[in-house]
Symmetry: C2
Subunit: 220 residues, 2 copies
DNA sequence: GCCAACCTACCGGGCGGTCGGTAGACTACT
DNA sequence: AGTAGTCTACCGACCGCCCGGTAGGTTGGC
């Protein structure tokens, strides 16, 4: 749950030691509250109160509400790059790569969905330039999945499925986890990740060709 | 695109004829703007301007912003009941029933996603009682899908898939359509509906048992 | 003359954000 | 050792703005 520490580290440009902790706490709290109430319904006062500051005190650490949102989304996107895309890129076999993508993305969400959920739900809260930046990175991600599906099609494992539609559909399935998964629920995170990964692979592979291509979890 | 006319009909309790059109236009516009900008980011003035009224003029037709939101969500839920759940309930065969659910729900979204998307994205904008109402109806829907998956499991067509996880995952896949489908895109609505339905069925059915159980579109 | 269908003008309040301060830790110089 | 200066980490008070909502008209068709 120290997921946003890096975001604060990136955001602070050459500040003292203790400041890092405080700033990280602010970003984490903001992400949690944005996630729960939504960006527009969250006031700067809400965030300030959550970290035990006044509004004016909070502004010592942040530039503004929109920068806060953009920083959180940027961090979430970095997380996706580092924990999902980069590891998957190193996997050659398309099916194993797809399993890696789905499992790792799902795993991120079951671990801490705040930033990743804000990333997809609060795009309209950003300034146009920032939004273009984030949307571009999201499109790259979908393209990456679509390319993987196209590779599976070239192998004959996927038949008659539009790679783009397939990619979007898988992403939707994964993102939706954050809406129904509860840490204290009937299934634990690993079980949910496994179930969703199995469904995702089954959704795209054509009948009669499926054999598990290994456990993509082992590389994390 | 006259999808919200009924909402206005339900909302207006014994008013004159012409008022219906105006009220319907207001609900439709509000749904469109809520969908585009989000509930909290939309002001009453935005809606008033969109229908060519001042804010005070708008209040002649509506009770308040939150009632507007609840009415739109209630309409969306009614739509789901009438266009998806009820038709599917009349289908006996579980697999055909599942196909009916997915195809009809997807179809609703490709036709006009405003109300249905607001329904899932703006829950926190409601008053507690209203929210409880909507959430209850949504849970009923997921349970209905889960029951259908359980029936498929009893037939041996689904193996090793938790019905609840399966239901949520399918719902996520369907709802996400509203985020990427464009009316003027490469694929038309029917193609998208068909592709997603195929993926959904493929996602839940166990290998080697799938045969298309008919075209669920023909009953609508 | 009446009523549906609006409008102008306004209200209290909360918003994001800023300003001028200041307590206290730390440093520098005598 | 004492003290003046400096900087970090805040706070109280305030700003202008816009919000949802309302009071009290006005107008045009019946």
């Amino acid at each position: 749950m120290t997921a946003l520490d890096n975001a604060a580290l990136r955001a602070a440009t050459g500040a003292a030691d203790g400041e890092q902790d405080r700033r990280a706490e602010i970003y984490r709290s903001a992400a949690r509250i944005f996630h729960r109430k939504g960006y527009h319904a969250t006031s700067i006062n809400d965030i300030a109160a959550a970290v035990g500051l006044t509004k004016a005190g909070l502004y010592y650490y942040i530039k503004g509400k929109q920068d806060l949102l953009f920083a959180i989304m940027g961090f979430a996107m970095d997380q996706l790059d580092e924990q999902v895309i980069e590891p998957a890129r190193r996997v050659q076999d398309p099916q194993t790569r797809l399993e890696t993508i789905v499992a790792r993305h799902a795993q991120l969400i079951t671990q801490d969905s705040s930033a990743l959920t804000i990333l997809v739900n609060e795009l309209e809260g950003l300034l146009p330039d920032d939004r273009a930046d984030i949307i571009g990175r999201q499109r790259d991600y979908v393209d990456f999945i679509a390319d993987t599906l196209a590779a599976l099609r070239d192998e004959g494992k996927v038949v008659g499925l539009d790679p783009t539609v397939g990619a979007f559909s898988l992403v939707g399935m994964i993102l939706w986890i954050s809406r129904w998964y509860r840490t204290d629920g009937r299934l634990d995170g690993d079980e949910v990740v496994a179930a969703v990964t199995r469904m995702a692979i089954s959704a795209v592979l054509s009948r009669g060709d499926y054999t598990s291509a290994g456990n993509p979890q082992e590389s994390g």
